[in-house]
Symmetry: C2
Subunit: 592 residues, 2 copies
């Protein structure tokens, strides 16, 4: 890359590249006046560009009086073009913490390409400025080295994935942004079409149906780094528009897509210097739920859920025994290091349990000086208590937290408590851990809507051995499905798709659609499956989230150049505009 | 690429790769039953995938009775998986027109992966099917080899550009699709935001302002293969959403962006096997208008416009002399080969002249047998006629077509006639010709709106020597602007941008904005220019059009996987949907 970095532009060297070996070179640098100071009659400028920064020395004996005057009156963030000579710094002036710290550039001329008013915040990493201010002047925020690094990381990840996919015969195909509405989980954005009064496009929540059509069209290997849209409220890890690396493959089955994805991830992680062992673990959905209480386990630490239903099924603590005897589960985690927490601090955890559906939260603390504290110990027999301690691997200093409820509620409660306690106890979670969670159930029963819904989506191929149960016993059906999990986040999800029209109809009927609704809403898909659809499957990776995790950022807004924020007043990052009368008229909204 | 083509899938060879050297290999092929025929008790299947096709022979002695029965009952476009052995064809059966024509695969097993109902049209290149039918079953249309080749070409062009840009230190940065409205040429699509009743996003007509902000943010080299949107009617060469290769560079001036773009184009053309000489011609805007009558000249043929104003300024043909004496121009083209056209055919050309603003069209025909035919010759003196023939390089068989009007109208008329005559006379236009048209005027005077408007856009940097004339003499101002022209189409356009807030204000004032309007509509841009904006510039290339030209296609719909059509009934390619009541309610349109 370096070869071209100083072509097609005003500079002959970047502010990050000069080293001792360049001493004596005549260079032209451009960049921003970052830190300026006078010292001993000389002016020192740290000149910064995206590649780094270089110390420039302006000596009145070496530049014109005019140029020296310019240097004397530089403001912060002035844009400069400096011609000069690279020279070695004196031994005492070498800065070992700076890539260019062995040299400096002695200016021969100083040109001010542009001035700057005083910036509203300093262009420095780790600034303590509220996000609203940063977003309002996002272009200044992006000038900070850490923001450039984040965008560079995003670029590197995206290009590494493209490279790995291109090499494997994938075609990048663009699918429409102005699409027709297809039934998916979230709300569509709709877009009035001016030449068609009363008619609307919808922005795609994913290119799912388009990529399936491409497989029917014989493209065989498709990808796209695709923008997707959901008309939902903002959250720290959610934006109304987001980017997914969208992949679909023809003539695949079983683990083919996972195998491909692992090779792509291996090349991508290598490109950004992250070490990870492959092949990845493939954990059954049920195992993930059993051990971690969720389907996106952070496997970088333990504190796993333990099922103690059998131990407590006859205990005198009726909350446990009645749940255990009525088909529920009693599970617990061992938060090692919290055994000395005050009763008040422990009982505050019940709020987390309640938020996740629990009616209460039992606990037992084992203090580091060997005592046991708990409102519930008295109900246990000695045998039960001994069995519990053995099952939970109890030592002094441990805190046991319990959930007794349905499997689903107990899982949700302990999953939340486990993650909370890991934060509270500073459990080390260095590095990254990727794994697959596979074989999700095909359907779940939606208690609110009183009907079955597809767990992934209704285009998912049911396990071959379960296809005959789609309508007779939906909850018994497994599916060819796989989520890619990283550090406790779902970063990707995919399935083998249905390629048989009859199976597709059966799944849609089970989801509550009538045959007429199927023809109306999914007729084009059914027709496509009837016209020689090959077996196919795919996956979609959330690029924003993946880069956020790889970059160690707390918010996806730190890896998106112009994210949406609800508060910012800058039109580049702000909330949507009030519509104008002209626009209203043009889209014929009145004709609705 | 081939190394990976048979990994992660059901096949061990593609239908395009087997050659004589593979004889004896055991392979598994997958694909579509393209052409099936019985011959001498054997069944021959041309099995097709995206890579090509291979002849499969099903011999009842080599497969199970079940599998033979399957092969006997194959329909067109059935999806097959064939295991078999590669064998040499007999000398008489070799097909030299087929990449795999020296071999065939003797089947050991035949598996039907999916059936197909009869397709509505044949999966063949060059089919004579109306576009509505092709678009309704676009997934079948894409299965045709020429459509796959077009999408493959598009992929190759896009990846070659990415590669050339990545290598030169460009970052691909994604800018928002849900943006705020900025004043550009065409109508915005607007998108109601559900959580913000009465407020709307706008889809970007280009990422122009975002990329300028990235330059202010120090990204220095940005690109994006970006989707852009204009709420306009459909045309053969225009879609409401289109893709541009969007590029912006910091610390550039003059020809830097053109130099970069030429290197990118050179690598891109090489990647798709197109030869072209570099560096490219750089033609002044004025020269292009003078010689070709437009700013996107097709320089692959002559028939250039000749200014004969001086020759005819005193002629007896008053239409010419009065125009010449009142500040207009008289120009002509020589359509060689049309000299024997009938008077009727020639006079039909006047319609084209009229459509472009002419009040009439004069002509002189020189028949191949040496005669001269024209209603106007009689008005010329011998000297005038001799000078005209010399200026126009007249030979027998030539047809001169004239325009006498303002410079603008005469240019438009003869530009249209020149292109029409090139088509009508089958003037050879093989290959591709790229050139730059540079130095557009900064402003034009809009007669309808009675005000100045920017010729490119109001962010264009005025030539240094003209900056002091922005407000005093707008039409005298040149600009740092460049269009990339290919085969008579504008495939790219760009400018060096304004980086100085005062210049930006002056340009916007000249375009008719008050200071208040400037602050309201462009305040964020002005602020950004005041906060250390570097000199910057860029270009945007129309990817759809470039691929259309490189692929030799007549319509951009042939290089877009799912284009918009006004008539198709398929939801993948059709017109926008009628909005549903649920959607209406959700977006709170009633609150407007």
């Amino acid at each position: 890359m370096t070869d071209f970095m100083n072509e097609y532009c005003m500079h002959t060297a970047t502010c990050g590249e000069l080293r001792r070996g360049d001493v004596g070179r005549e260079v032209v640098l451009t960049g921003w006046a970052w830190h300026n100071r006078d010292h001993g009659g000389l002016i020192f400028i740290d000149l910064r560009d995206r590649a780094g920064y270089t110390q420039v020395v302006v000596d009145p004996d070496c530049v014109s009086a005019d140029d020296f005057a310019k240097a004397e009156h530089l403001g912060r963030e002035y844009v400069l073009k400096i011609a000069g000579t690279v020279r070695e710094r004196g031994a005492e002036a070498v800065n070992p913490n700076m890539a260019t710290g062995e040299i400096e550039v002695l200016a021969k001329s100083v040109e001010v390409l542009n001035t700057s008013v005083t910036p509203p915040f300093s262009i420095e990493d780790g600034i303590e400025t509220d996000e609203t201010t940063r977003m309002k002047w996002r272009y200044l925020d992006i000038r900070r080295p850490e923001m450039y690094q984040a965008l560079h990381l995003r670029h590197t990840v995206a290009q590494a994935m493209r490279g790995a996919l291109n090499e494997r015969g994938f075609l990048e195909v663009e699918t429409p942004i102005l699409a027709n509405s297809t039934p998916e989980g979230a709300r569509d954005y709709i877009v009035p079409s001016r030449p068609n009064p009363g008619r609307f496009y919808a922005l795609p929540q994913s290119p799912q149906q388009f990529k399936q059509m491409l497989m029917v069209g014989g493209i065989e290997r498709y990808y796209q780094i695709a923008r997707c849209f959901r008309d939902e409220d903002l959250r720290a890890d959610r934006q109304p528009e987001f980017t997914q690396v969208d992949i679909e493959m023809g003539f695949v089955q079983g683990e083919d897509v996972m195998n491909l994805m692992e090779d792509v991830m291996a090349e991508t992680l290598a490109a950004v210097g992250v070490e990870h062992a492959f092949p990845l673990q493939r954990m059954q959905y049920r195992e993930s739920m059993d051990r971690f209480g969720n389907d996106r386990p952070d496997t970088r630490f333990g504190m796993e859920l333990v099922d103690i239903t059998d131990i407590v099924k006859d205990t005198g603590f009726k909350v446990f025994s009645s749940v255990a005897q009525s088909g529920g589960v009693v599970k617990a985690i061992n938060a090692k290091g919290a055994g000395d927490w005050s009763r008040g601090d422990v009982e505050k955890l019940a709020d987390i349990a309640a938020e996740n559906g629990a009616k209460g939260m039992a606990w037992i603390a084992f203090t580091s000086d060997g005592k046991e504290k708990s409102p519930i110990i008295k109900f246990f027999s000695d045998e039960e208590f001994a069995a519990l301690k053995e099952a939970m691997d109890v030592e002094p200093g441990d805190l046991l937290l319990f959930a007794a409820d349905t499997y689903e509620v107990a899982s949700a409660v302990l999953s939340a408590l486990r993650l909370h306690m890991a934060d509270a106890l500073n459990v080390p979670r260095e590095g990254h851990q990727l794994l697959w969670v596979v074989n999700f159930p095909m359907f779940r029963y939606d208690e609110d809507e009183k009907k079955y819904a597809a767990e992934h989506h209704p285009f998912t191929h049911v396990l071959d051995e379960d296809v005959d149960k789609i309508e007779s016993d939906p909850l018994a059906c497994g599916s060819y499905s796989y989520d890619l999990v990283m550090d406790g986040f779902e970063v990707g999800g995919g399935t083998i798709r249905i390629h048989n029209a009859d199976e597709q109809r059966a799944v849609l009927r089970t989801c509550g659609l009538t045959d007429e609704e199927i023809d109306e809403k999914f007729g084009h898909l059914i027709h496509a499956l009837e016209l020689g659809a090959p077996p196919h499957g795919g996956i979609a990776l959330g690029l924003d989230r993946l880069v956020m995790l790889l970059g160690g950022k707390a918010s996806i807004r730190d890896v998106i150049a112009f994210p949406k924020t609800s508060s910012a007043s800058d039109p580049m990052t702000g909330a949507p505009s009030a519509v104008t009368g002209r626009q209203l008229k043009e889209v014929n909204l009145r004709t609705l």
